[in-house]
Symmetry: C2
Subunit: 144 residues, 2 copies
DNA sequence: TATAAAATTGAACTTGACTTTCATTTTCAT
DNA sequence: ATGAAAATGAAAGTCAAGTTCAATTTTATA
């Protein structure tokens, strides 16, 4: 999806919520939409500072929360740290985490999704969402 | 496995590491071996206090780390809190977490394990361990 | 456009889990 | 028994997350 469309989508979402416009928030939204893959709130905050924005961490934090609420960002709990990635029209996926270099690699498997649903049903549990992280060694680190 | 055997196993582990014996540590080990399912370090600490033990949180924390190192306890990251469960000769399993009441329910599925290994291989990733948490509603909370 | 009410910001603070530090106490080999 | 080494636990330090509130910015209305 094109960034302008996402921007409009988010602005509409904010209007519906009765929120005012603000430059700091816009800069966070833009920076987030330009990220690839995962980013933590602190990482995004630092990206914004490096780009020369005058911004506080709270605004980054709050905007990421808004983006998540709007369905544009998706929060992933990695240990104690939350990472955010694009959600809108991106299908669910899971993650490999390299124990050596910390790389986070996405993957998705319809089979795993299906089996998880089966198991939840078997245990009379209603599955709402899930988190699967496979820890190990990425291709680069195996060579070393 | 019988508790006395686990105790011996742990004491041998400590001997090999050149650790001295200590009463506070023993009380933590005993309390942990008597738990069922998951417990956080603070929960275990409170159990010990309620039982009338004079103990500091650090000792509980350090002993759980030792137990994990020995392969008797297994650490599970649940959001920001680490829970510990019995590991020795207990097979790996995953968890449901109820979004309503917070209940943690164990399940295991050889199929899921197998497919995870397949996928890791497909992505040239060496799987060392994994964490799968399915969030949703437990049986009780569905009724409400 | 001017103004006042309402929303937003961001520095600082609070929280909660985890981890370390270090003076005191306990253990253990001699 | 005694002294070196290890263990303890109160207190302090981290780190990310979440909250507070005075100051600033935005917006609706005059």
């Amino acid at each position: 999806m094109i960034m302008n469309q996402l921007l409009k989508y988010f602005n509409d979402f904010c209007s519906r919520k009765g929120l005012n416009k603000s430059k700091p928030r816009d800069s966070v939204v833009n920076a987030f939409l330009q990220t690839e893959h995962h980013i933590s709130s602190y990482e995004l905050y630092n990206v914004l500072l490096k780009q020369g924005n005058k911004i506080g961490y709270s605004t980054v934090y709050r905007t990421l929360k808004l983006l998540t609420e709007a369905g544009i960002a998706r929060a992933i709990e990695l240990g104690c740290e939350t990472h955010f990635e694009h959600d809108y029209k991106h299908k669910h996926h899971d993650h490999f985490v390299c124990n050596q270099c910390g790389a986070i690699i996405e993957f998705s498997s319809p089979t795993i999704e299906r089996i998880q649903d089966q198991i939840a049903r078997k245990f009379n549990f209603v599955s709402e969402h899930h988190s699967l992280i496979i820890y190990g060694l990425c291709q680069q680190c195996q060579k070393k």
